[in-house]
């Protein structure tokens, strides 16, 4: 099993989905527990892989290689390194948590559990595969596999405007990924010999014009996924309409697929184009950070506020990417991880409140700190983590990203710090409106957070606090790979 550990990680959810398919529709408890067990096994397998993983080694590890479509030299090629492994770990944890959060979720009724958990597990296979594939063709296939389940999960179990949100998400991402496919084909035919194999493609020389064109094709695919301003308009719709656990997956994992794409494919394949695009990337990062922050400040819908805060926080990942130096890359990579845990937690907390009040209007609440003291504690914790309180993980990653970008451009860094101030503003303003002030009598009957809901939050809190206090616990896994990448793309 050790030899094929990555395959086991990818295909365990698919097997779970297969089992779910054969359980009768009415046995909802069975279906739920099969799904949770499956995600649990995946997490266990990931933890096992963690023990095999050699943090100090820069190249790909646990590589699995088999021929898939010999006519095109397509391989079933998996492997992991300091960039993908944290993402796989994050995916496994978030998937398990979101699965648990799916249990009580109101809209997972209508007797459609079977469909829900089947699609959910299919989605997990796609996400894990996307992070582990090292063959461009395989990567594209798995990248697309994520789309269809997501369409259904938003479209069937989402909020009132779910159909619009689902198709918007789908078409946006599909448009981006089709251009990425054209880029992939361009890379394939430009390589001698023709290959999709990332391990061989990385070192090959490419002309500057070719790099720029294909970089832009990849950029469209990744930018829509992140999402980078101005391609972000699908995000608020999808996030707001999706059911809570799916919002968690969206924020926690799907957005990272875009920035992961930059680290894994765009930068190593087109280093010169990456340098050429550096100023544009920095500008887009700043626009995202500031614009997302201001829009978040203006929201009255709790979930929409968190959604726009995602745009702002993902901007820091781009900022780190734009810096093209050691600190920037570390910050970006760490921010991908911490944003997944923090925003995932915030979406869970929005869900907790919404399940009880059936409202997300921030102005409608007030004084809930009295009625729900434990909830107030959790919400404050995650809000502080999100606004970058030192001692929690958000601070470390954003600080590193800013440190990196300072070496590149002082103006950009200065403007980006506005985003941190804005984050403090919208998050504290949210806390004020929800938890403090006079209790709105409408909400006098609300009950406090339940143990099951706390269970979904605890692992995230451990990660946030742990990384906040001792960042090397995760940075040690990333740094050798990131430094290797930096050396490889030096022009």
């Amino acid at each position: 099993m050790t030899a094929h550990i990555l395959s086991w990680i990818i295909f365990t959810p698919l097997m779970g989905a297969g089992i779910v398919l054969f359980v009768p529709k009415s046995a909802t408890d069975w279906i739920k527990w099969i799904a949770l067990t499956t995600t649990g096994i995946v997490t266990a397998l990931t933890c096992y892989a963690l023990t095999i993983f050699q943090p100090a080694q820069a190249g790909f590890q646990m590589v699995e290689r088999a021929s898939w479509i010999p006519q095109f030299g397509v391989q079933y090629l998996l492997g992991t390194d300091g960039i993908s492994f944290p993402m796989v770990f994050l995916t496994a944890i978030i998937s398990m948590i979101a699965c648990l959060a799916s249990f009580p979720h109101v809209r997972v009724k209508e007797g459609r559990e079977k469909e829900y958990y089947f699609l959910y597990l299919l989605l997990e296979t796609g996400m894990l595969g996307t992070f582990l594939a090292l063959d461009l063709f395989l990567f594209y296939v798995l990248w697309e596999v994520v789309l269809v389940p997501m369409y259904f999960l938003i479209g069937i179990w989402g909020g009132p405007r779910r159909e619009y949100a689902a198709i918007k998400f789908f078409l946006y991402t599909l448009a981006g990924s089709l251009f990425m496919l054209l880029g992939i084909l361009g890379v394939y035919f430009a390589a001698a010999p023709h290959t999709f194999d990332m391990t061989q493609l990385v070192g090959m020389p490419r002309g500057l014009l070719f790099q720029q064109v294909v970089f832009m094709a990849f950029f469209l695919g990744f930018a829509i996924k992140v999402p980078i301003f101005p391609f972000h308009t699908w995000l608020p719709d999808a996030h707001v309409e999706a059911p809570t656990p799916i919002s968690v997956i969206l924020a926690g994992v799907l957005l990272k697929m875009g920035t992961y794409g930059f680290f894994r494919f765009s930068y190593p394949l087109f280093p010169q184009a990456a340098h050429w695009f550096q100023p544009a990337m920095a500008v887009l990062a700043v626009v995202g950070i500031v614009y997302g922050g201001f829009v978040a400040l203006a929201q009255t819908d709790f979930k929409k506020m968190v959604a726009y805060s995602s745009v702002s926080h993902m901007g820091f990942v781009l900022l780190g990417l734009a810096a093209l130096n050691a600190n920037g890359f570390r910050g970006a990579m760490l921010q991908m991880f911490t944003h997944g845990t923090i925003t995932g937690g915030l979406f869970l907390l929005v869900g907790v409140l919404y399940d009880r009040a059936h409202s997300r209007d921030l102005n409608d609440f007030g004084g809930l700190g009295v009625k729900m003291p434990a909830y107030a504690g959790f919400l404050t914790f995650f809000a502080l983590a999100s606004l970058g309180l030192p001692g929690l993980s958000g601070f470390v990653s954003e600080f590193l990203a800013l440190l990196g970008s300072y070496q590149y451009s002082k103006v950009v860094t200065g403007l980006s710090t506005i985003g941190i101030i804005l984050a403090a503003a919208y998050l504290l303003y949210m806390i004020q409106r929800v938890l403090l002030g006079k209790l709105n009598l409408k909400w006098a009957g609300l009950t406090d957070i339940k143990i099951q809901e706390v269970l979904t939050l605890l692992p995230l809190m451990v990660l946030i606090l742990g990384i906040g206090i001792y960042p090397r616990v995760i940075l040690d896994y990333m740094i050798p790979t990131l430094d290797g990448l930096l050396k490889a793309i030096k022009v």
Binding site: I69, Q71, Y140, V141, E144, F152, A166, F179, L181, L185
Partner: protein
């Protein structure tokens, strides 16, 4: 090779021809018309088993036919399409009346005709075999005599088809007049030496007209939606795949054998026609409310994608055409099988009949979803492999504009395919659950469903067999 010698390589075709006559005769004696259909199915299977791949290209009947790997692939394609069509016809209720026996024997003739189209290597033979297919198609489209829509469709098809054939025949006469031969290789060589460029250009355009009609290429696609809507559903399913595939076969052969030296002339034409075809098909499909019309426009758009492979016309481009046709055949027949099943249960071809299908028949809904996703070209399904191939061929030939148009078109296409999926899964059901599909339909559905999945997940297995 003379006629007698050729016969031994012509066994599957002879069986089809014999089977067709026997089916006609059986029709007199059998009261249970379904048995005729089952007999026809048996004939197809027998022909499939006896079809052997030629080890080298065989010039049959004094070079009238060229039985090569290419023709042999279309032999399988034609037999598969006809076989599945007969299978789903067995579950088609409007046929359970008087004329059914003839219906099945017409299809056996059709299988014969299709194979001759793919193998024809002589202008006269090409024209005759295409007309054979066309005549049979007119008959099959108008088969439901009492249905005014069906009659109208047949007349429309006949008129449109005759004009296009006439134009193509004129193009052939030009070639004959210029070169004095009807044999493709001879014409090709004659055109090479002489200053015939204007004449060849005219002939190419006339061929595009005649064959463009067959493959529903814009601007010769106008007949398709009306005919597809009016024809009996199994016939529609058949028409969207088999004649189209054979049209591409002839086009490939003609371009390859006669006009290979004039690539600079027809490549830009094909690029423009390809963009036009997919764009018109996709944009018009968005607003359809009848499922058969909807799939008709979608099939026009698909023809546009296949033309990409032809426009590139590299080695990869020709492979792309074959792979795409195979994937498309499986997928589209599958989609029509579900349409036929739903129409049988609801007596309606309207899109509204699909509301809440996931509740009324979860299996049909799931399968139609897979077929539609495959048509949209999403991995890991058959349609993706086809689309991947044509995109690869176009990129390899540096047709960047063409691929960008194709990518945008694919997004539009995804939008309208998802309209159906949305109806099936996101809209509440309007009626009670359906009964399980008949045995014939179940077999057809599962066969097509599994092939669409298998082709997507294990493409290399199919690619080696298709490309030899």
């Amino acid at each position: 090779m003379n006629a007698i010698e050729s016969l031994k390589y012509f066994v599957p075709e002879l069986i089809l021809l014999g089977g067709a006559f026997v089916a006609l005769t059986l029709d007199f004696f059998l009261r249970q018309k379904k048995l005729v259909g089952e007999f026809a199915l048996l004939v197809i299977v027998l022909a499939l088993c006896l079809a052997k791949a030629p080890t080298q290209p065989l010039p049959l009947f004094f070079g009238m036919f060229e039985l090569d790997a290419f023709a042999h692939f279309f032999r399988y394609l034609a037999l598969g399409a006809v076989g599945i069509t007969i299978l789903i016809s067995l579950g088609y209720s409007p046929l359970q009346k008087r004329y059914t026996g003839e219906f099945y024997s017409l299809f056996l003739f059709m299988a014969f005709a299709l194979i001759t189209v793919a193998a024809a290597n002589n202008l006269l033979m090409i024209f005759l075999s295409i007309e054979f297919v066309s005549l049979l198609s007119y008959l099959l489209v108008g088969f439901l005599k009492e249905d005014p829509k069906s009659k109208e469709a047949a007349i429309k098809y006949l008129l449109f088809g005759s004009v296009c054939s006439g134009i193509m025949l004129y193009g052939m006469s030009l070639l004959y007049g210029a070169t004095g031969s009807l044999e493709l290789p001879v014409i090709g060589n004659a055109l090479l030496g002489a200053p015939f460029k204007p004449l060849a250009t005219a002939a190419i355009l006339f061929f595009f007209t005649g064959l463009g009609f067959k493959i529903s290429m814009a601007p010769f696609h106008m007949w398709a939606p009306d005919v597809y809507e009016g024809a009996p559903t199994p016939v529609t399913a058949f028409l969207t795949v088999a004649p189209k595939a054979l049209g591409f076969a002839v086009l490939t052969r003609v371009l390859d054998m006669i006009f290979w030296n004039f690539q600079s002339v027809w490549t830009p034409v094909l690029v423009i026609l390809s963009i036009l075809t997919m764009t018109i098909g996709n944009i018009t499909a968005v607003s359809q409310s009848n499922i058969k019309r909807f799939l008709a426009y979608s099939s026009i758009a698909q023809a546009g994608y296949i033309l990409m492979g032809l426009a590139a016309f590299s080695h990869l481009g020709r492979d792309a055409v074959l792979i795409y046709l195979f994937a498309y055949l499986m997928t589209n027949l599958g989609a029509f099988t579900v349409v036929l099943f739903v129409a049988g249960e609801t007596q309606s071809d309207s899109l509204d009949a699909y509301a809440g299908l996931s509740k009324r028949s979860p299996m049909a809904a799931a399968m139609l979803t897979i077929f539609l996703l495959s048509l949209a070209g999403l991995p890991p399904l058959a349609g993706f492999i086809g689309k991947y191939y044509v995109f690869a061929a176009a990129i390899q030939g540096k047709f960047i504009m063409l691929t960008i148009f194709a990518a945008i078109n694919s997004v539009i296409a995804a939008y309208y395919y998802f309209r159906i999926i949305r109806l099936m899964y996101l809209t509440p059901a309007t009626g009670p659950a359906f009964a399980a599909p008949s045995k014939a339909l179940t077999v057809a559905l599962w066969t097509l469903f599994l092939s669409v999945l298998a082709l997507g997940i294990f493409p290399s297995f199919f690619i080696t067999r298709i490309l030899g």
